[in-house]
């Protein structure tokens, strides 16, 4: 519970900080992308690794 609570706090503070620094909605959008894309990429990599593992296991 604390971890997700902390994550929500951090995202609020990061958004606030970026907007205070630049005042640009585009910068906030980039922040959203930076906070979202890596997680998706990690998930995709994990799935590909799993598929390869499965394929190697089936071949051997």
């Amino acid at each position: 519970m604390g971890a997700v609570g902390a994550t929500q706090l951090v995202m609020t503070a990061m958004s606030w900080l970026v907007f205070s620094l630049s005042g640009s909605a585009a910068d906030l959008a980039i922040l959203g992308m930076a906070a979202s894309l890596p997680t998706i990429i990690v998930v995709v990599v994990v799935v590909v690794v799993g598929w390869l593992t499965n394929w190697i296991g089936a071949a051997s």
């Binding site: 519970m1 604390g2 971890a3 997700v4 609570g5 902390a6 994550t7 929500q8 706090l9 951090v10 995202m11 609020t12 503070a13 990061m14 958004s15 606030w16 900080l17 970026v18 907007f19 205070s20 620094l21 630049s22 005042g23 640009s24 909605a25 910068d27 906030l28 959008a29 980039i30 922040l31 959203g32 992308m33 930076a34 906070a35 979202s36 894309l37 890596p38 997680t39 998706i40 990429i41 990690v42 998930v43 994990v46 799935v47 690794v49 799993g50 598929w51 593992t53 499965n54 296991g57």
Partner: protein, 209 residues
Amino acid sequence: MMVTAPLSAALMTILALLDGAGAVQVWHVWVIAALFATVAGFDWPAWQSLFPSLIDRRYMTSVVSLNAMLWQGRRMVMPGVGRFIITILSTAAIFGIAAAGFLVMFAVIASLRVRAIKNRSGNALRAFAEGVRFIAHNRLFYVLIPLLLHHHVLQHVLPTDHAVVRRSVRSGCGCLRIAERRFGAGISRWHPWHRIATGLAPARPLHAG
């Protein structure tokens, strides 16, 4: 999780120090947000897989429901708490609190006595492949996984909402905007017609006065 919690704490400490020293720049926040999300990409599945080790199988449904309820509750409450802390302290304080929270989480995880679950295949990679096969053979996941991804992406589109909320607060209709944000008026408000209709001024730095 023994690795991700200290890493998250370290990232938050760096950001707190940069922010506290007044040296923080926008790209610092971007980089740390990306690293934080990368760590979270490993952390979240680990959390999910921890449940079966902590509880009995017959309580799983209740635990999942409780977890989902707490998850949504936190998402509603924590931004408000964050705003309160920013008002009385600073954003650096939030990063410091988050760093301390991750260290506490690390201590809690380190103290857990988790019973080992024996894999049927006896090999972690094979067990993982077994999980992927299970997902591939159940069509329900073909809907659930895109839905989850969609939800995740949409959740991170919302930070741009801060721009609207903060500008609206200055223009005197903050309560309405914050209520709209909290209760979800939908992504349609990002369409140009909405921005024109609401007469939002172009963004400008707050410290510019």
